[in-house]
Amino acid sequence: MKDWLNQIRGRVEAWMRPDRRGGISAPDLARLLRRDQVLGKGLLWGAAAVLGLVMLAEVWPGWLESWTSFLFVGLFGVWMLMNLHGTRVAAELPMINAALENNLPGAEARITVGMRRWPLPRTVRLLLGHRLAVVRLRQGRHFEAAALCQVMLAEPMGPAEHLRPELLLIFAEARLDSGDPMGTYSALVELSHRRLNLVQLLQKVAMETRYLVGLGLDAAVLERVQQRLELASLMPVFQGGVVHALLAVAARRQGRTELADWLKERAELICGPRELAMIWGGKRIDLRG
């Protein structure tokens, strides 16, 4: 009996706090998102039910029992608590963003603490999930980054829909880094059907260039080289330099020596010869610089 109870308790705890076992994995995130969805729907239907009861009380006076008022207060309280948690975690996001640049363990710790909060608005959890995918990508854990993105992309995102292109970009990069061009291709195709803002467009172009040059599709990458270069001039410095270098590689392979030399000269001025030597040597390219 005791074992059975312990087993039940363990399961409930795992369901309630899957992140207790360490870092948050893709299945954990999926469970947390499902739980948030259940709560969100519960609140919505609960509110609708109580409102219905109040309406009935208007038709048949005296019908309304006092417990409906307490149900109302309970629902309102849970909703308030959820928003309070959401506000607190959202306030942490700028610090998480800053930590993503120079302190990945710190960022992960903050994300984990945020994820442990319950109830939490689904949008905020998706924002945390996005940051977690970035952490995994920067840690070089590409499979995990891709899995996290896949979990979030499979969910309806509601007000966090603007995250979808970001997640597709992370997914594409993670798949490319883990040697899966098909996954990258599918993400790039989906991205090309979406309306992207300028920063996302620049990321996509950088990714696409890397993908095409990596696969040896040099003619395709040079087809709209002028447009690519105009966009590269708006990219962050190192990323723009890498795009120049990749285009130089493609141009040289296509026998367009003048263009290749011009691009190489530019890339050397932007990135520096040491960084470029890695690209010429065919090593893995970190587009984030």
């Binding site: 409102l51 109040v54 109302f72 263009l259 011009w262």
Partner: protein
Amino acid sequence: MASVEVEFHPPTAAQVGRHLRRYGLQAPSRFALWLPLLAMGGAIGLIWTDSAEGAFGAWVLLGAWMGYHFWRARRQRELERLVSGVQELSMLRRDEQALRQAWLLVPKVRRRMDLHARLLTVMGHVLEELSCYEPAMVVYDALLARLPREHPASVHLGLARIMALLATDRLSDADEALRRFRGVVESGQGNLLGALYRLAELYQMVRTNHFADAVGRAAVLVEDLRPLGLEAGYGYALMALAYYRQGVRVGGVEATPGGEESHTPSQPPPPRGGGEEETGTLPGVGEQDSAICDRPLNKRTYPGGIPGELPGGAGEWWGRATLLVGAEQLVGRFGELGELAWAMRAFARRAPGDDKQRELGAA
């Protein structure tokens, strides 16, 4: 509906100052902060009446509060989208459009410190791009007043302000400001702030005719300015100007704008970027490529060896500069480069290397 053509006039410093004072930052509304508690208290009070009307009233209150909450969140998202749009316009160098939208948006984001700061940063940058240095400085001052002195954003804005000071000939103010940042930036060599500082320093040297000092930095300039990316082209152009003016002083070249015949080129410089006559002659480059390669390919354009030696390296630095940034843009930002650009064009016309280039182009 007939479209209305609106002529664009950049705002004056006084107009910018008035606009920023009128629509300055405001603290978040206290009412909005207390609203959740007020709504909760009101709802509990209504329920306490223990009547159907009370319960109904509580629901109405809750509904109203939730509606307000969603409307507010939606409005915030919309404002963020609009501010991002303005930033995109600025990135795409649609300066007039960006400035107009930023101007109109400032009153709407008074209670959002982050959005207000983002908009003012865009305004300052765009005004500087439009060569409206005085209004830009007003914007920078408004932003700097909010930030701690050694905050990276403060240093960044301070350095942008120094460039504006130098452009408006307030050299002593610029010198003082540069000294103030020296300690802060020296520790951050190899990063963006360090590069911006070096660029400001170089501009100061050129403005104050300390060409020898500027030329003395040539060995490390490429590394120093690398974090600027394509913007480093402006620094290379300033270095070219320093070389050129030093050469003029020494007596190698007697270049005066408007007196083309007085030039005595010792060696052919590279052609200026942007001109069609130069771009069409690049050998082995297709139509699309030639549009891109509108800037000189130093070693290949003049296979016999080039530019560099215009007066002592000016050509070489100008070649680097125009490899990254178009000559028109260079002159547009730093007017004093016009003289050098003009000289380069004059040299290019007379350069014997052009014949070789034409041959290559025909081939």
